[in-house]
Symmetry: C2
Subunit: 769 residues, 2 copies
């Protein structure tokens, strides 16, 4: 593509203006007017330029590349000084390409109109002071091999997966300034009211009911619902959580634990937020241990009602989101029928009248300020003998029949309990996804900043060094970025399995284990990543305007709610032990033999001294090596845990004592297992792709993810003779090389997260200082 000098004169502006795929819609008109006023351009040129300003139909990747090529070839012919502005660059290039008759490019009028365009495009204050190489090609310092640069949009579509269009739609919506809350808003009442209005706006657009059946205003898409949730995490996290409480927890409980009569009566109004509700499970005295909640729901056969009661102060429902705005609560309580406790059930209890006054017997207390999420109204709720009709019992898994007898399709209380809880797994799936979004957003900010921020003159006499060129900085950020890549594919698989098993199929148990494991892994990943990114941006990272403050404060509770991570990981380990036991039980002697054989062969294969000491880079970078490490670790931890437990049983230790003695082991096993799962999904994704630059770029992420995971846990691998000390050192060296490979494309890797600037917001990632 050969461009005219006129077009060339503004190419740098367009390249930068579009470089983050966002052109402000409100400024479009003004940009077009400016172009029409540039009378040194031919009509054709004006037309072409205007065609490039349509946000709905942005320039194709090809066009974009043609700009870059034109800029590169033009600028190669001239001496580009270090500190040239975009306008000067354009003018110089136009002049060069004009040949002899080039005085026009010196005319003050021309310069002025290009400067005005620059202002309209909103790039002037950002970039005019930055040098061409720094802003247009951050990779210039470490020369990127052109043929290796991948297309961030193609990569984004790999990451976005099947729900890409829905995600784009949700993103567009929350980009509206209506969803922007100023950092100056600190008062919780003000924040809560703003967020309430925002949730209403989402509900009006049909986002609230997305998981519900169509007859209740929904799209019958639990997977889509999680995609919306995942995307909302790019914006205000208070909004995300209030959205989740209303539609996922409250509505989800009605949908999953209730029956048609409940759906007909409540689901539609829940999805539109006509009926604001909360999910009253946790009590002050019982958080993780839901089964021993103290609240009672006593069936009164005389008038076919249920009396809900908090027997002690500690039986109050604690930390209930939406508690102050709700009209109704789903209350989890011990259901007593004919003096017999049938275990935990959920009952719908109205909380407030139309005037929003609490009903008799209901006490609600504000939880006050929290570390974050101050736009969510958390409170404590007590019930003093509140009586509701029997029909308010959500009776999908257990109800009371005509004769006042308890009936359930699941006879065993413990199985019923876990089935009910399992039906609510969507919250954990959603949180795993949203955690990763928050991590990506911080990485996006920190990496962009590290490509602008310079400190100390080391490599270059004229300019200080970009902080991303420091190996310590790369080691801090790239492994976290690789984890976010891996988690993306693993959580996509989880979403798929969840959507497939929705409504309670046999596969649900697998989904529960995966959700527990990935929620824990992803929420810790978010906590670690936001912290590291904050520190990596120094004092600037501490300012509210740069987003980490809210990201950190708002997501910090993700490691606790929807199940404390330590407790969840123990559930994962228990499930793995059960599976192992099942395998033994099913297979009898042969299974045991297989087990032993498997252990033998794995040790023969992996503990082969040649392999243990193989420090060859090709071997270390091979999927085979990583696979063997991941499998060996989770298998060995599982077998040794099972062996230890058997030996304790042999010694007649009581089960609770055995549990305590193996608790840390269980947590290690669960972590290793989750990491192996992420690895496997990453490999599957990679293998499913045709050869491309994006595939190569993904392979590097997979290698960093896996080798860094092994290196981080090298203590265990060395302790268990899986690798030798020399091999561990060789892994470090290979990782160093991988970091250097990522460095020139770092901006592309975060660009592919697809977080629009208007949501990323942080000034350090946007404006030059």
């Amino acid at each position: 593509m050969k461009y005219s000098p006129g077009i060339i004169s503004v190419l740098p502006l367009f390249y930068i203006g579009w470089s983050d795929s966002v052109l402000s819609p409100s400024e479009m008109k003004s940009i077009q007017d400016k172009i029409k006023g540039m009378d040194f351009l031919s009509y054709d040129d004006q037309y072409t330029l205007i065609s490039w300003t349509d946000q709905k139909n942005p320039p194709s990747e090809e066009t974009f590349k043609s700009w870059l090529d034109a800029i590169k070839s033009q600028s190669a012919q001239m001496k580009v000084s270090d500190k040239i502005s975009l306008v000067d660059l354009g003018l110089q290039m136009a002049k060069t390409s004009s040949g002899a008759k080039n005085e026009i490019w010196d005319a003050p009028k021309v310069r002025k109109s290009i400067e005005e365009l620059e202002a309209a495009l909103g790039v002037s204050h950002q970039l005019s002071k930055l040098s061409f190489y720094q802003s247009i090609s951050p990779e210039a310092e470490h020369e990127i091999e052109e043929e290796k640069a991948f297309d961030p949009r193609a990569m984004q579509s790999l990451l976005d997966g099947p729900y890409a269009p829905l995600k784009e739609k949700a993103k567009k919506l929350i980009m509206d300034s209506f969803f922007d809350i100023s950092k100056e808003v600190r008062d919780k009442e003000e924040m809560r009211n703003l967020v309430l209005d925002q949730v209403k706006a989402l509900a009006r657009q049909g986002y609230g009911a997305y998981a519900y059946p169509e007859e209740y205003g929904g799209a019958n898409s639990p997977g889509g619902n999680t995609a919306i949730f995942e995307t909302l995490a790019m914006g205000n996290i208070s909004l995300l959580i209030k959205f989740g409480v209303q539609f996922g927890l409250f509505g989800g409980a009605i949908f999953q634990l209730g029956t048609k009569k409940h759906h007909d009566k409540y689901l539609k109004d829940t999805g539109t937020l006509e009926l604001a509700g909360c999910f009253a499970m946790t009590e002050t005295g019982h958080g993780s241990n839901v089964r021993d909640l103290e609240t009672t729901a006593v069936y009164n056969p005389d008038d076919k009602t249920i009396t809900v009661h908090s027997p002690t102060v500690a039986a109050g429902k604690e930390y209930i989101g939406n508690a102050l705005h709700s009209k109704m609560a789903v209350v989890f309580a011990q259901l007593m029928v004919n003096n017999k406790n049938q275990g935990i059930h959920a009952v719908l209890v109205p909380l407030r009248d139309e005037k929003h006054e609490t009903l008799p017997g209901i006490t609600v207390k504000d939880n006050g300020y929290k570390m974050g999420l101050n736009g969510v109204d958390n409170g404590r709720i007590w019930f003093d003998n509140v009586t509701v009709p029997l029909e308010n019992l959500l009776d999908k898994y257990g109800g009371i029949d005509e004769n006042g007898n308890y009936q359930s399709s699941i006879k065993k209380e413990s199985k019923r309990f876990f089935t009910m809880l399992g039906a609510l797994v969507g919250g954990r799936v959603s949180l795993a996804l949203a955690s990763n979004t928050a991590a990506k957003k911080s990485l996006d900010i920190a990496i962009r900043y590290s490509l602008k921020r310079r400190q100390f003159s080391n490599l270059n006499e004229d300019q200080e060094t970009l902080i991303l060129d420091y190996p310590t900085h790369q080691w801090r950020l790239f492994p976290l970025m690789a984890k976010s890549y891996g988690l993306t594919f693993a959580t996509e698989t989880l979403r798929e399995k969840f959507a497939g098993a929705y409504g309670g199929s046999e596969e649900m148990r697998e989904v529960e284990t995966l959700a527990a494991g990935l929620k824990s892994y992803a929420s810790w990943h978010a906590t670690d990543t936001i912290q590291e990114c904050r520190e990596a941006c120094g004092g600037k990272g501490y300012l509210a305007e740069n987003e980490f403050a809210d990201l950190k404060a708002d997501t910090d509770i993700f490691t606790t709610f929807e199940g404390d991570n330590h407790v969840l990981l123990q559930l994962v380990a228990k499930a793995l032990l059960t599976d192992l036991k099942q395998e033994f039980n099913d297979g009898g002697f042969m299974a045991v033999a297989r087990h032993v054989l498997q252990r033998m062969s794995s040790s023969v294969l992996t503990l082969n001294p040649v392999n243990t000491r193989n420090t060859n880079a090709e071997h270390l970078l091979s999927i085979d090596f990583m696979q063997s490490a991941m499998t060996f670790r989770s298998q060995k931890l599982l077998f040794s845990l099972s062996d230890r437990m058997r030996s304790f049983i042999g010694k007649k230790l009581a089960p609770p004592e055995i549990f305590l003695r193996t608790q840390t082991h269980m947590v290690s096993l669960a972590k290793a297992w989750v990491e192996a799962f992420i690895f496997e999904e990453f490999v599957k994704k990679l293998n499913s792709l045709p050869e491309s630059k994006e595939k190569e770029a993904l392979r590097i992420m997979l290698q960093i993810f896996s080798l860094h995971a092994i290196y981080e846990d090298k203590g265990w691998f060395l302790e268990n003779d899986f690798i030798s000390g020399d091999k561990s050192k060789a892994i470090r060296k290979v990782l160093n090389k991988l970091m250097r490979q990522v460095r020139p494309q770092a901006h592309l890797y975060v660009e592919a997260f697809g977080i629009p600037e208007v949501l990323r917001k942080a000034k350090i990632a946007t404006f030059a200082e």
Copy 2:
């Protein structure tokens, strides 16, 4: 000691009332009135009880123990039910000890008056519902061996060290409700004004000037000043930081970089906050790299003035604490004399007039909301050719003489720069100390909560398990507690060396290296500990009322300010390399030989296969083993770094390139060296003590600190063949045992931190739910 039934009836109340060594002074009168109204008590008994209510002269340890003994012996004789209240317990015990004539203890009047006393003591709503064993002897479940229980007050005096009285004084002061800021205050202007008043109050009491000479209102005690700072960290961290900015940074710069004329003119008013000032060093464009600041200070020989100027937007002073309240700034700028740049110097520049309006040429912009510290007014400051008299140049290390020529006692610019910066090392010393205080406060809250919070019935049919009885919980909290213990002794040594070298002696270099290392280590320790404690307290930890929110948000920047931790650790490594080089240079051939010999002998000693594989618990718990590990690691990292650098030099790599290639290595070395230093100071402290229960308890902390540090870095130790895989596993087992030893005394270990309840505040650490 034998007590009368009357006294026995209220002993449980007194025991609990005093159990955290705090009785509210304002309630003392009301308690005494209640006692006087208890007419079933003899006059002697009333007198005794009243003597126990004096907060200034609290019951002795002996008295306290006599109460416990009386309670234990009385309650042993009767069946104490699980959920007895303190009043019932007292009444029952009194009844039992009264013998036959015991009807009085059933009288409603008596019960009522004891209940009123309970309320006056402020223990009723906290503890009446908790069982006797749970509240009075949290160690009951894991029976503590009586003779092992140490005295937390004796331990506290070991931790508090030489400045204990000053610390107590400062603590008492900030316990006043004047220093308490409600969590409802969210507006930064409101917070800033409150904090400003509080700093004034501290100044009035002489705390501000503490480090300055007596003639300027001070106590001439830089060590005392850091002890005050360390103690203030128990309260509002915004107050701490504003205090530090005014008296440490602004006043410290005048004192350390100025000469008598500056001291006479400004120091007194600075110490009283008559003159509010700020420390304008960091610029937007230059944080870590102070030497390349852009602000200029040009000497004008004609009128003997200096013109201070910010040449670019990025040259603006960034993130300056006190910027909005200050009348004056110490501005760091490139001093230009006769067109020659003499490097960074500090100049006093007035910012505002008496009406608090900014002076001509001064622009100040609020930094807005931050993650935390919103009670501190941070801002950006620009200077537009602001001219001040020459005498405003702080000229201790470099000034301009009569003839307009630059003069300095330190000829080399780089040496002068580092000397000036070194004079300001007090900030890092203070921050290392305050970081540890913040960590201790979170541990105190989390451990107290974990001794009240129960979840899941595992060990006991009747009661759920205390969460501190879970091994995962112990592994999460105890190693952090042990680090806080170790850091206490190491930072005390740092303080001592700092106070000794104050004013610029030759030992200052050692102090700088230590301060850089310990500030980094301690601030990361605070970040990690607060995070872990927040998570360990679950959802409760997320509520603002439980303190972690502020602790986290306010201290998060400690890893960045007063020098980014990564940058500081590289300084540490450089200093170690310089020392090593110096040793070579000084000693010539013999030094090299010694070096080689030392390496040989250390490898002979430590890499001896017998030792590498020695998994004997006694060996692992020995100071010798820990010492060899700590020394081996930091020595080996130092020698290998030095070897690598030499080899790169041999390959003719440019120094900046060598720096980049060894950067992660430098950081590892510095961390290892700091940890070894902490270990050594811990050992020295232990060895200095006579045998006692406290010494035994400290030994366990030392063992956990060291073995956990080794275990955490087992990857390195295995990689370097210092330990075998079996030995690493054995260390884990020994650590498990140590955790179990700590468990029954956990509350004593945190009690010894000496943080009064009124400062600890968190409701979860105080009230029963």
